[in-house]
């Protein structure tokens, strides 16, 4: 198996946070974190597998030209609006949405659309609102938060299109399929 640089970063990160946890909270906290991580992994596997498959299937269904046309750099405000709608309607956790973002990226969506999508999924996600926010935070909080966040994904997408033209933030070419 090939070990990439990113893998090493995450192994190091786990070691550093684990050492901090041990020093600050002692062995029981470390054990709790270990079992938490284990359970989390088991819990997300079915959804992660589905997310990866959805990503793979979507790349077969939509042609590169089509995605590039609908969500590419030239798609204008309409592309951002479409990405926002898609993000708000995508159910599931990050283990589902990020494989899809990756698939859209390789299929030709631009930084603006991808970032509008992620912002919409995280800020306006319909599924999370119904399942968690409404029952836990109440209707008054939920509607105020929803309305306050409504314009934000498109704003982020516009900004991303602008910033990604700067040298320091230029997005790498999408990896080949």
């Amino acid at each position: 198996m090939k070990i990439a640089k990113t893998d090493i970063v995450f192994i190091a990160l786990a070691l550093v946070t684990g050492t901090l946890c041990l020093l600050l909270k002692g062995p029981p906290a470390v054990l709790e974190a270990l079992s938490h991580a284990g359970l989390l992994l088991l819990g997300i596997l079915p959804q992660l597998a589905a997310g990866l498959l959805i990503g793979g299937l979507v790349t077969r269904l939509v042609s590169k030209e089509r995605v590039a046309g609908m969500l590419g750099a030239g798609s204008g405000a309409r592309g951002l609006a479409l990405a926002t709608l898609a993000g708000a309607l995508t159910p599931g956790g990050p283990f589902t949405s990020f494989p899809l973002v990756y698939a859209l990226w390789t299929a030709g969506a631009d930084a603006g659309a991808l970032i509008a999508y992620i912002a919409a999924w995280s800020l306006l996600g319909f599924n999370r609102l119904i399942v968690w926010e409404l029952p836990l935070m109440g209707a008054e909080f939920t509607w105020i938060r929803l309305v306050a966040c409504l314009p934000l994904p498109m704003l982020a997408g516009l900004l991303a299109r602008y910033i990604s033209r700067l040298r320091a933030f230029e997005l790498a070419k999408a990896p080949a399929e």
């Binding site: 995450f10 786990a14 974190a33 306050a148």
Partner: protein, 168 residues
């Protein structure tokens, strides 16, 4: 949780049916190959990412910060709440219960909106566990730069709405 899994797998089967109708077995094999390729890159980093995230949950203090984002804390409180939100560990099943603790501890409504928005947008935990391994650090940097002001804006919009709706 179970309903979500059922729904997502339903989506997988519907999409698979579309691919099968258009490209037959061959299309499904190709789709599977693409999925397997992504899975291979995640195989090693995902368990360690989840581990790091779980350690973070243990380290970050929560209740201490409650006083600092009260209803009278204004724009500074909104800014602070955005930052705290970004550090909140875990998915909705841990962050909303934490938000309730803040709510009962006397946090203001616009500050809470900024907190939830900060958690949604920055989510250090999600960034480390999923976004960086899948999309790479360059994408993360671009997204963070584009979204940096969103929680502050959400808090300010909420402040306006609270005033307009006349909520104490």
């Amino acid at each position: 949780m179970i309903a979500a899994v059922v729904f997502i797998w339903l989506a997988v089967f519907v999409l698979a049916a579309f691919v099968w109708r258009r490209e037959g077995r061959q299309g499904l094999v190709h789709a599977g190959d693409t999925a397997l390729g992504t899975a291979k890159t995640l195989m090693l980093r995902l368990p360690f990412a989840l581990l790091a995230a779980s350690f973070l949950v243990q380290i970050v203090p929560v209740a201490v910060l409650s006083d600092l984002i009260g209803a009278e804390s204004g724009v500074l409180g909104i800014l602070l709440a955005s930052g705290i939100g970004g550090l909140l560990p875990g998915g909705p099943m841990t962050s909303f219960p934490i938000a309730i603790v803040f709510m009962q501890g006397g946090a203001g409504l616009p500050q809470l909106v900024a907190l939830i928005a900060g958690w949604s947008v920055f989510a250090l935990h999600r960034l480390l566990a999923y976004e960086a391994p899948i999309m790479g650090w360059r994408f993360v940097a671009l997204r963070m730069a584009s979204c940096a002001a969103l929680p502050l804006l959400a808090g300010l919009f909420a402040e306006v709405l609270v005033v307009l709706a006349g909520i104490d």
